[in-house]
Amino acid sequence: MKVLLISNDAGGYAHHVEAPDNTTVQQMFERHVGTFHADSYLIRVNRQPAAADQPLRDGDRVSFTPLKIEGAI
């Protein structure tokens, strides 16, 4: 299956990637980002929050975006 992966990590992703059927969100994260540390990212599938064990389907849009971007003096 193919999913659209959006992530800023490493070189950045915003393109379709191949994945085996029934790949979970966590497996996708570990494959493309690294050790699963969900507390550092907002993980969404088709623009909705997703659980780590949610299986992905062909055509899904998966995004890993940073949490708590904040500045102060």
Partner: protein, 194 residues
């Protein structure tokens, strides 16, 4: 740059956003885009869902993350643009896993701080000098659109009142200076003359 200065000065708080880079020159910032955020005079905090929405919108527009998610820009009150501990922690935590990223801070009094970090190979960091590039075309100022973008995204966290979107405080005309004694005297004089 004009938009950044406008956004910095239009409200009573810090403000932040992402730089949108030229596709062929990633260190040439052509626009700054706000996301929903809660700001105070001394802090800015992006809304996580709004950041994710921003990523989706930018990808739908055909951009890659290196064009819209690598240059983090925010303002500081006063004269010092030096990054705080919070700034450094965010730069490390949120941008430490990308190949490269830039933190740009502009203080109210005009001083700037720009630093790039490169996370590939041995990794390194380098201060950059920022400047306005006049050799490239740029769109005209659009204060109305910029103001609407500000109102749509910025919630001012005033410790002396409840949190509220900037648009609500707009009605309070907070930025209008109270009439000076000379103004009052002038008005009184006109009334007396008429």
């Amino acid at each position: 740059m004009a938009k950044l200065l406008y956004l910095r000065d239009v409200g009573p708080s810090e403000v932040g956003g992402f730089g949108i880079s030229n596709a062929d020159d990633l260190l040439l910032v052509e626009d700054i885009q706000l996301v929903e955020q809660v700001c105070s005079v001394v802090s800015v905090e992006f809304d996580d869902d709004s950041v994710a929405d921003f990523f989706d919108q930018q990808v739908d527009m055909g951009r890659q993350p290196e064009q819209f998610a690598r240059i983090w820009i925010h303002t500081h009150p006063g004269a010092s643009p030096s990054p705080s501990g919070t700034d450094e922690e965010t730069f490390e935590r949120c941008f430490g896993g990308v190949n490269w990223a830039v933190m740009h801070i502009i203080a109210v009094e005009g001083n700037t701080y720009t630093r790039a970090r490169f996370n590939v190979g041995p990794g390194t960091e380098r201060r950059l000098r920022s400047r306005v590039e006049f050799d490239f075309e740029f769109p005209a100022a659009d204060h109305e659109a910029w103001f609407i973008e500000y109102c749509d995204n910025v919630t001012v966290d005033d410790p002396f009142t409840s949190r509220r979107p900037f648009a609500e405080s707009y009605d309070l005309d907070w930025w209008e200076q109270t009439p000076s004694a000379a103004d009052r005297w002038s008005d009184s004089l006109l009334e007396a003359v008429s």
